[in-house]
């Protein structure tokens, strides 16, 4: 070997020892037959070559319309004014229809009730129209039949029942539609023994009856939170589930903002056992057990009556015994509260969720003493949003059992699931010859009825609503019915022997009954067109009618309340409507199942809330199953330790544990309806003296938020009314010696920024669902949420502050902060997330390779990773997808984009019209739906814009400002009130 060879690098033995190499080659040559390796080489070559010819794009088909309507270009959206059918509150909506399919609901900003806001249920209810499990055709005993057969059979059956002198009963949910009521009235006239009953599982019967007693009119008044200075609510969750939450939230938040401008507080005191959404927003929460409510009401009425000098006619009030129930530590606070109420006469509001009439009479008495009627409580705008008479339902069941009812027509309710077990609806139903259900979905009730006559989804049908007397709202169909369904009203018309469609009837009804009430339009056609365009007609009377307040009713109510003694000591169970699925009507809606409870942040199940003290006493751990026994009934339900919960009370949300809800909702959570009872004249949702036994089983909750504390970091800041105008010292100024990669981006044209007012935000979470629907965000399921893999781009962080027994609860919407010095941008190896020239932190899905470095480096934890290709195999449900937003695939990071598709759309529109973008022309989905109007989005480069002004607000702060990531989201501090 020469020197050259010695210095050579070698890698194989053959290279240094040529002999070995030759030997190897010889041995190979000796086999001229094809060996395994050559075969594979050849195979690979021919495979690669063959597949080369096959590289072609899958052929895409494009199908134009045969006959294009004049007003529509494919790829553009049409907006129709309609009404939300999610709950009986009847908020006004604008339906975004893209190429023939509704894809998004937005609150109608001109609608006087919701004024642009729309709750999570309203947003999510749109998915129902595309639900592939919807009942698509009429059925008889489980077999599909056609409408003619059903009509013929039912009419003959009805005639038979008329001859046999048996009752035909219509059991419906709240019917706030005036035209439907007219049809029902006609139906009742056609069949003389027919009867109509409204049924809501959680009724406000007591308020209606109390007003009948005190004011002589059975009605639920309209509440005006926007005229109040003091609100005292006894467990009424008016921001969450009570009567008309969106309307009330808008009034409440706007009043807060208005009073803040004047540097005055809006004092809200909530007296409750569970931590409701409303209670969590109160300035003062007084924790009382449900049965103490009566004593507190009595105490307050006594104090106020003394102030008003009205004790003479209320002999009993002076020395009643019911006052014992008031906790001694609350006495001073109550006195102060009574003083504040008295000084704010006519500007206060006292509410109660009590389902017993006497308590509500006392509430009316308190409001009467405070002079709130005609000011914050309007009788002329009586609410029609909850109509139900508990006693009538009980009587109906007795009649059914007695065989007097020949036919039961069930519409928009699920009595088998929601009625108390002791009433035994299933047994009673057997005594009814003809049973019909108009439900759109298969549920516990549809299983037991003979005829299924599915109604349209509210998006597919005409309808109207009168949520408040004199206020009319219109529904219009925005898609053709997807199945062979028929409007409930039309079914009734057929069975009355009439052939007109519901649309014809509705139009005629409006022409005959509503058109004459107004004087603005001379022709009914012009009136109808305007109503259709606006979506509503406001003909409410602004003149209040006089009434006589009956003191007699108050006296007897107080006497009755004073008799009741509260049983302190024993545990009680309180059943309340769920924030997400209410009474169970939405338990199969995946958006709402994954929608966390605003306070506990648990999703995909219900649970029993336990006070920390009780948990310690009974040695209960978070997630531990409890066996709750009451009157021979048992329930096994996981416990959630809830700071702020009343120590003796366990609270469970209703609506879960459905046996027949559908793929998503069946078997989720625990059904608590068996624990409800019928007591005196109402449904009772409180069980006294329950036994609780911890079991040795645990549940892992699917939690959207796992850290409850702020750890003294400046994430959520508060201020007080006194300090609001003082210079800001809370945010430390830093000397940034740290190396910064960027030397300041230049945003020459636009700078998109957002401001969130924490004093307005109530944490209801409407924005979460609005964002999901707008941005095609997948629902991942309980197990994945438990693994912290939920995909919500927007979340609402809830923090506790202060003592464990009664903490202050604070909410903070958290979304991508679109930082200018974004920490995610600096770590992306493929530049899939970079800064745009308009201040957006862009996320480019097709560039992303899924390293997840960005999510790790994000201080706000708002980036979401697609761990899977979340199923999009339900072709029907896919129709809700927004075609303006990419459906992300597996392995891609995603996050809030400030609704960049909306920004681009408005930019294009403005450019085409050769004009600058107007302030508030671009609205993000969260901003649009926010019932509290807490979110403002805009161009901070425009000095006249709202956002530019809010950025200079004295309450401004940025989350984790000291990190110098320069977020584009400005938060406005919450204002703490210390008045009580």
């Amino acid at each position: 070997m020469d020197k050259k060879q010695e210095n050579r690098y070698w890698t194989k033995l053959e290279e240094v020892e040529p002999e070995v190499n030759d030997a190897l080659q010889n041995s190979e040559k000796s086999t001229t037959r094809m060996n395994r390796r050559t075969f594979l080489e050849l195979l690979t070559l021919s495979f690669a070559a063959t597949s080369c010819t096959k590289f072609r794009k899958p052929v895409q088909k494009i199908v134009p319309l045969l006959n294009k309507p004049e007003y529509h270009a494919p790829g553009t959206s049409l907006w129709y004014a309609s009404t939300c059918g999610g709950c009986p509150a009847a908020c006004g909506t604008l339906v975004k229809v893209r190429d023939g399919r509704p894809i998004k609901l937005e609150g109608n900003p001109d609608h006087p009730l919701n004024q642009g806001g729309l709750c999570a249920i309203g947003q999510a209810s749109l998915l129902g129209v595309y639900d592939s499990q919807r009942l698509k055709q009429p059925m008889k005993k489980g077999q599909p039949v056609d409408w003619q057969t059903i009509d013929a059979e039912i009419t003959t059956q009805f005639q038979k029942l008329v001859r046999a002198k048996k009752k035909i009963v219509l059991l419906t949910g709240t019917i706030h539609s005036p035209s439907t009521r007219a049809i029902i009235d006609e139906f009742l006239r056609t069949y003389p023994l027919a009867e109509h009953l409204s049924y809501e599982p959680v009724s406000l019967t007591a308020i209606r009856r109390a007003h009948e007693k005190t004011h002589g009119k059975a009605l639920i008044p309209a509440y005006r939170f926007d005229r109040t200075r003091v609100i005292v609510s006894f467990d009424a969750d008016f921001l969450g589930t009570w009567l008309s939450p969106v309307e009330f939230t808008r009034q409440y938040a706007s009043q807060r903002a208005r009073l803040l401008e004047e540097r005055k507080p809006l004092l809200h005191v909530q007296l409750e056992a569970r931590v409701s959404l409303t209670g969590s927003n109160a300035d003062k929460r007084m924790i009382i057990s449900p049965d103490q409510q009566k004593a507190y009401l009595l105490w307050l009425s006594k104090w106020l009556a003394q102030k008003a000098g009205q004790t003479t006619w209320l002999g009993t009030l002076a020395n009643q015994q019911g006052l014992e129930g008031v906790q001694s530590e609350h006495l001073r606070e109550l006195e102060k509260l009574a003083d504040i109420l008295w000084t704010n006469r006519g500007k206060s509001l006292v509410l109660s969720s009590a389902s017993d009439e006497n308590s509500q009479v006392v509430v009316n008495f308190i409001n009467q003493l405070l002079g709130n009627y005609h000011r914050t409580i309007l009788l002329s705008h009586a609410s029609q949003q909850n109509q139900s008479d508990d006693l009538a339902i009980k009587n109906l069941l007795d009649e059914m059992k007695g065989g007097q009812v020949g036919a039961l027509l069930i519409y928009d309710c699920n009595p088998v699931f929601t009625l108390p077990e002791e009433l035994n609806f299933m047994e009673a139903l057997k005594g009814v010859e003809v049973t019909v259900d108009f439900n759109q979905f298969d549920d516990e009730t549809t299983e037991l009825v003979q005829y299924l006559c599915p109604d349209h989804h509210y998006i597919e049908t005409w309808n109207d609503a009168e949520p408040q007397v004199g206020f009319y709202s219109l529904f219009q169909p925005t898609i053709r019915p997807l199945g062979n369904t028929r409007a409930f009203q039309e079914s009734l018309l057929r069975w009355m022997g009439r052939n007109d469609t519901y649309y014809q009837y509705l139009k005629k009804y409006w022409q005959k009954n509503i058109f004459p009430k107004q004087s603005r339009f001379l022709t009914s056609l012009k009136f109808w067109e305007k109503a259709l365009l606006d979506g509503f007609v406001d003909l409410r009377q602004n003149r209040e009618t006089a009434y006589v307040f009956s003191q007699k009713a108050v006296k007897s109510a107080i006497e009755k309340l004073a008799e009741i003694k509260s049983n302190s000591g024993a545990f009680s169970l309180e059943i309340h409507p769920s924030h997400a699925v209410r009474d169970g009507a939405y338990t199969n809606n995946p958006y709402l199942l994954e929608f966390p409870d605003p306070v506990s942040k648990v999703c995909w199940t219900n649970y029993v809330s336990v006070a920390p003290r009780t948990a310690q006493q009974l040695n209960i751990k978070d997630g531990q199953y409890l066996q709750i026994t009451w009157q021979g009934k048992t329930l096994e339900v996981p416990a959630r330790i809830q700071p702020g919960q009343q120590a003796g009370t366990f609270s469970i949300a209703m609506g879960f544990g459905r046996k027949r809800a559908g793929t998503f909702g069946t078997g989720v959570g625990v059904n608590v309806f068996p624990f409800t009872t019928f007591k005196d004249d109402h449904f009772e949702f409180i069980c006294q003296e329950i036994q609780v036994q911890p079991l040795n089983r645990f549940k892992k909750f699917a939690l959207i938020q796992t850290e409850d504390l702020l750890h003294n970091r400046p994430i959520l800041l508060e201020t007080t009314l006194a300090e609001i105008d003082k210079a800001d010292h809370t945010v430390q100024e830093h000397n940034y010696d740290a190396m910064v990669i960027w030397h300041g981006h230049k945003f020459e044209k636009h700078k998109w920024e957002m401001a969130i007012d924490l004093n307005k935000c109530i944490g209801c979470g409407a924005c979460i669902v609005a964002c999901e629907v707008e941005n095609n965000i997948p629902v991942v399921g309980e197990e994945e949420v438990h693994r912290r893999r939920e995909m919500h781009w927007m979340r609402i962080d809830r923090y506790y502050k202060g003592e464990l027994e009664n903490p202050r609860i604070l909410y903070q919407p958290m979304l991508c902060q679109q930082c200018d010095n974004a920490s995610c941008e600096s770590v992306c190896p493929v530049l899939a997330t970079i800064q745009s020239s308009e201040g957006l932190n862009m996320q480019i899905y097709n560039r992303c390779v899924g390293t997840r470095f960005c999510a790790n480096n994000c201080p706000y934890k708002v980036r979401r990773f697609n761990w899977f290709d979340y199923p999009h195999n339900d072709l029907s449900a896919n129709l809700i997808l927004n075609p303006d937003v990419t459906v992300r695939s597996r392995g891609v990071m995603e996050k809030c984009t400030f609704c960049v598709q909306r920004i681009e759309a408005v930019k294009i529109k403005a450019k085409k019209e050769r004009r600058p973008i107007r302030d508030q022309e671009i609205q993000t989905a969260c901003q649009q739906s926010c019932p509290a109007d807490a979110i403002v989005f805009g161009d901070a480069n425009d000095p006249d814009s709202q956002i530019a002004k809010l950025k200079e607000n004295s309450r401004k702060f940025k989350v984790l400002e000291e990190l110098y990531v320069k977020p584009s989201v400005t938060y406005l501090k919450k204002v703490e009130t210390h008045d009580v």
Binding site: G75, D884, V887
Partner: protein, 184 residues
């Protein structure tokens, strides 16, 4: 089998396969569909319409001025003229049949971009970008093919070169190359 024969045979087979399946209409380079020229259900000639009869593009592609999509003309647009002209042609009869049987005509897309790209026709038309700039000289095509690559580099090259001065935009307006202009 001899190794040499094996190689020879496999190469022959590969070439044969390529010759049999190679179709210049649908293959150029991977992910580049330039030259793609699919068959359409109706033998519609853009040359006859746009060149010989000088019908403006936007007469049929009505949506291009207001929407993201340019729009394939609906059958009633065809029948505006063809109710009178060449009524008996078998190709026109296909449209008549589609209308009578209420079955829409299924065309094959020639110029398409991936689903994660949001191209908006209306703003380009509004800024006086001629249809030919992207679609090529469609007026001379009997059967339409894809004249350009329609890849991102190709888009960006225009966005860089067309400054607001070239386009005579109002002051402050700019042609953007931000990712979020097309990707969201």
């Amino acid at each position: 089998m001899d190794i040499k024969t094996g190689w020879f045979l496999s190469i022959v087979v590969t070439i044969l396969v390529i010759l049999i399946y190679y179709n210049p209409d649908n293959y150029k380079f991977i992910n580049n569909q330039q030259g793609y020229k699919p068959d359409q259900p109706i033998a519609f000639s853009h040359r006859v319409h746009a060149k010989d009869n000088a019908i403006p593009c936007l007469y049929c592609h009505f949506a291009a001025e207001e929407s993201r999509h340019a729009g394939i003309p609906s059958a009633n647009v065809c029948m505006n003229c063809h109710r009178e002209i060449k009524k008996d042609s078998p190709e026109i009869q296909k449209i008549v049949k589609a209308i009578k049987t209420n079955t829409p005509i299924v065309w094959t897309k020639v110029n398409s971009i991936p689903d994660f790209v949001y191209f908006n026709h209306s703003i380009h038309i509004n800024r006086n970008i001629k249809c030919e700039k992207c679609h090529g000289d469609v007026a001379s095509m009997d059967k339409v093919y894809r004249a350009n690559k329609l890849g991102m580099g190709w888009c960006i090259s225009c966005h860089r070169e067309y400054t607001h001065k070239v386009l005579k935009l109002e002051p402050g307006s700019q042609v953007l190359v931000d990712c979020s202009v097309c990707h969201y």
